[in-house]
Symmetry: none
Subunit: 194 residues, 4 copies
DNA sequence: ACTAACGGGACTTCCCGTTCCT
DNA sequence: AGGAACGGGAAGTCCCGTTAGT
């Protein structure tokens, strides 16, 4: 028997991706697993606590982990970023684009409504930005990235453009638009290489 | 007595901006205006109909109108865009940033949930993109904008980065981050001028 | 311009037949006529008053009138009844059977709920029964109808079987079942002729 | 503590008998039992589901069971039917007559409005008719029932007259009228014995 | 560790009726 | 005579959370 808590967590992560946090009926979701509300409230005191756990244990590692390696990457950080952006394009299906980025979705939905969510999402963004900024800074020091931009500022711009691309593509229901925006971002970043 | 329908519409636009569409309790909102449920139902048969009206009559004109003039603008379209972006930065208060862009909020919240909303929001994005693309195309023809980018594609990138900046800044609760991302976007656009 | 009051009455009679009295939304019904609630409440103080008027002015004359002539009919009253029953079978479409007899529908729906309706419907039934009983009594006196049955009692039985046939056929959605029950009733009545 | 679900079912059966299905406020009804809305929702997701359960678990067995034994009855089926009709007369109080037959009430109210109800009520009628027809057919084969009538057709006529008697008596608020109609039906049936 | 039963507030919708006005 | 605006109670549904029990 696998870990019930993990099952609950994973299934709700999917459901939140599909319907948003508020739109997710936690007990209905896990009923598909043959689990009832009792188990849910055994592991998590409230629905919000479950949401926090989804962010902390699934969302955060996933997203922070994506940009973490840039710190130890040997080579031009722009290349790393470009490669990652290409990955995101390549691995995104039409369905995924139509659902939107889980991080972006949660940011837009829950940031203004709940401090607990906002703090957690701020943390994720900050960690991602930190990794990117560190990488870019190293590139600038090594003289392989132009020095015209502040690394921290540029890092936020990259994240903004990326999440913005997810958001617009979600509404337009078009993976093509996502891909094109990512490509434009890549082109821009490429122009920052020395 | 001024137009009750308009009052309902405006007050709900604010409320949707504050709490999202689903989080808005239409009857409570207008009770502050001394308007009752009965009047609400008289004008809007369902909550969704009210939401659609808010989008059609307030949101769409506001956002589409922002970029429309670029078509008849005499001068470099990049300058027009830059000026508008500066306007958005200048006119945004900390509170506004913390609430997020009304268009972006609605896109993220309602696009996956309701076709009626999605179609309307697609329409707004398309109109904005069309105006931008037309302006950029004209600039390219006049030889004052570099021809390396497809105008339509670039238009979506601009919108994505703008809305993305709103989204990230909302979560980070930081007008500074918004301003910086906008500045980075402006810098990039500036590099596209001939 | 034809009489607005009559229009309201007729249209609501149809609607009550279709949806029952409680299921009828009087203002929606007349909106199809281009009339608004104002006219409705100008002519009828309440919905119930409208319902009473429908019964008094449309339903009652129609149903009482069907059996009235039996009193002045020269010939065997059984023949008159048989002819009328055949008429009802012949003139009933599948749709009419599926909707049910307007009188029966209203009896079942409103009799237990409202005294005003019940009194009116009792009156209709009583008048119908009276006519039938008078006719049967005359037949018995003339020696052309067997004397084994009390005319009043037999009159109620005829009405009961008729309305019961409507009711069962409505649920079964079958004009054939209605026709067969009517035929069985006719056969029985035929056996009462001398 | 006895079965809550059964309590809900029984109490609502009574309430539907009193006020009709649409007129029944399920939560108010059970509040008299000290049961709350929450428990109601736990057992029945919608009001309609509750209504269906009342039909399936209480109404159907009761009515189908009444005529079922005729199949295994040794003797003249007309006698069985006559006995049952006498039972119905004897056990009906004035109040019961004024309320009407639960089956007939539901047939008239819900058949045209909802397919789920109609199918269930059709099923009840069909089962009752089937039992009656089987009994009558056996009687005809044994030569103790006249062969002039088709058993199936006669079965529907009996049911129609019975339910019609309930309906007319309900409106007339008269158990006497019910008894007399039943007696007339019995007399007719008696004439079909060989 | 997990289930079934249960509590109860909140929300949208519905719709009868009233009032003001022309 | 009749239309538009408006009032407001009530019904059904939804769903988060609690508790007794195994």
């Amino acid at each position: 028997m696998i870990d019930t808590r993990q099952q609950i967590l994973r299934k709700n992560f999917e459901a939140i991706h599909l319907h948003g946090f508020q739109g997710t009926r936690a007990d209905k979701v896990i009923s598909e697993l043959g689990i009832t509300k009792g188990a849910l409230y055994h592991y998590f005191p409230t629905k919000k606590a479950l949401g926090y756990a989804v962010v902390d244990e699934l969302l955060a590692p996933m997203f922070i982990g994506t940009w973490k390696p840039i710190a130890t990457y040997n080579g031009n950080p722009i290349d790393y970023i470009t490669a990652k952006l290409h990955d995101l394009s390549a691995s995104s299906t039409d369905e995924y684009i139509a659902l939107g980025c889980p991080l972006n979705n949660l940011m837009q939905e829950m940031s203004p409504l709940d401090t607990g969510f906002r703090n957690r999402l701020q943390h994720i963004l900050s960690e991602m930005q930190l990794s990117l900024a560190q990488g870019l800074k190293r590139g600038q020091k090594q003289g392989i990235v132009k020095k015209q931009n502040d690394p921290k500022q540029l890092a936020f711009f990259i994240l903004s453009s990326l999440e913005g691309a997810y958001g617009v593509a979600k509404t337009m229901q078009s993976k093509q638009i996502f891909d094109q925006s990512i490509q434009t971002l890549i082109d821009y970043l490429d122009s920052l290489k020395v």
